[in-house]
Amino acid sequence: MKRRTAGLAALALMALAAAAAAADTQDNPYLPVDGADFRSALSPSGTGAGTGTGTGTGTVHVAGFLLQRHPVTNAEFLAFVARHPEWRRGAAAPLLADADYLGHWQAPDALGPAAPPRQPATRVSWFAAEAYCEAQGARLPAWHEWELAAAASRTVRDARADPAWRQQILDWYARPAGQPLPAVESSAPDVYGLYDLHGLVWEWVLDANSLMGSDEAQKFCGGGALSVSQKENFAVLMRVAMLSSLRARDTGHALGFRCARDLAEPPQ
């Protein structure tokens, strides 16, 4: 598994930042997700930076990893912005975050009534999300990691064949948009103890930009998702479609994130 940033200096800086961020992570700990050979909705060749390794049979191997218990909240992101003023609204370069970045916050350093502290942090670009995770000595999860974790229900690790589980996810899509987001951990955890992988917000992944090459955008249009191997699994398709519609500087009203770490890395 390969990190995007490298170099000793960077590592040292990250260690410092990680210590400072320890307070945030107590409330949002990293929980283990076991490695698995996993039948992904995307063909292995469909992803570039993913950690999954194709086996040629439509199955990918995902190594064990750690994933945050819930999406990063407004309060957690506020603490990050306080330590990293370059990521305040108005300070972040337009190349790295679009005009709506943290647009619902009362001020660049204050949440205000439209951004309750326990609500997932949204209107955050991929760059900002990745910067947040790196400041914790972590990273965004790769698509295959996120997909593996999100396949779980309350009782089993792969609930994707369960129509009731699928319908539950689809029901979220069917609910009207534009209402205030609930707080994190408002619903039940899955078999790993993770919350809100479905039913709350979309989440950035590390390789969001390479889920489809630019010439592959057709696959989500017209003829419809030709590269997607489990066509009945619309719930997953929605995620891929959403992520592939975004550029890394984009933000969204219902688009958040959480961080991941390699299992091999000692947590602190």
Binding site: Q167, A177, C221, M238
Partner: protein, 494 residues
Amino acid sequence: MKMPMRLLMLASLCAACWTSGVSANPPGAGAKVPGDFGPPHGEPIHAELTSPPQVPPPIHRNYPAKVIVELEVREVEKEISEGVSYTFWTFGGTVPGSFIRVRQGDTVEFHLKNYPDNKMPHNIDLHGVTGPGGGAASSFTAPGHESQFTFKALNQGIYVYHCATAPVGMHVANGMYGLMLVEPPEGMKAVDHEYYVMQGDFYTVGKYREHGHQDFDMQRAIDEKPTYVLFNGSEGALVGEHALKAKVGQTVRLFVGNGGPNLVSSFHVIGEIFDRVRYEGGVHEQENVQTTLIPAGGAAIVEFHLDVPGSYVMVDHSIFRAFNKGALAVLKAEGPENKSIYSGKEVDSVYLGDKAASPAPVAEARAAEASGTLTKEQQIKAGEARFTGTCSVCHQANGQGLPNVFPPLAGSDFLMADKRRAIGIVLNGLTGPVTVNGNGFNSVMPPMSQLNDDELANILTFVRNSWGNSGDAVSAAEVQELRASTKRPEGAAH
């Protein structure tokens, strides 16, 4: 029509004669493509978009222009049937989406805006666009963003557009389709009214007319078993006060599309014959058509002249869809009778079903029930609205029934003798001999269990307090109790 550009260029080499006499290609415009009348002239024009059933006015322009279309995607919660809400995904806030009208040869600068509060990414595939995906790849747009692409409207005709974002079926099933008209350069023959009607099939977790908010049911969609088949996205869209209107002596042109996602429509207007149909939206006309087939993802232009006043009911003539899934719309023609053509018998009572009556009393009764203030009078009014068309088909509007065939309800000793039995008959049907007011009947009444508890309670309260009957009110709780404790064939209807 989506011909790869290379093929199209080849075709144009040997078919330059196809281009119309209106062609205004300046020198140096390159290889001619049929329908390409050269670069746009004049100032850019902002297209006027209309919500269904309205159609933008005819174009009356004799040169190709640059036309700017701005279409906003909105995810909205609306009524799909009386008392039933659904989250529609829409182009322009309505199902079907806004009607787009351009002229053949126009250069269309298309802006697709995805409203920031929307949950989903969306795009648009316009069947009237020549180019891969019909614009789909170029218009893939995340919430809070806008995409722009430009195309030349090369082919005249009426074209479906729809969202083509994965999962395509779900986006279409939620209402993401509409029509674009590409007028021929010389325009279309003037008519008195143009209307926009589009059929679609819908898939809900709950049964037909089950109250409350209903979610999309993926399995039903895959099985192609719709809960609703509708014109313009709602059972009430084109009936009652929303019926289309015209006058006797006028000619009506309907742009009729079918968004699907699954069903093919057998489009028919009861009591009319289409004088002209541009079937499949193409350039050829058929005359004297009773029913025209409209494929999913297809459209037609139908025209007819109104000779006799009355209500003309549009249906999908796969007729269970009309009477059991909602595929009914009405065009009301006003004007003097012409008894030499038609005796003037009203078609409403037979064909309209329960859509003939205003749904207002039903809504009022539901609100009153929710707030605990429901009166017997409100129940009677709501029951009358439902009785009309449903029960009146056999028992007649005056409750007299038909001698020896359908028993009377008016002054009926059988009806009034046992309230519980009456509820049970409406719920579960009745087969076999009965004696009503001294007369024997031996017939079949189908179960009406598709109606809700409160609807049945209101209908029974109405019949037990009309035409000389006098009794107490029937409550929804009484119906519910009987429904739970008795058996009936499922899915029974009219």
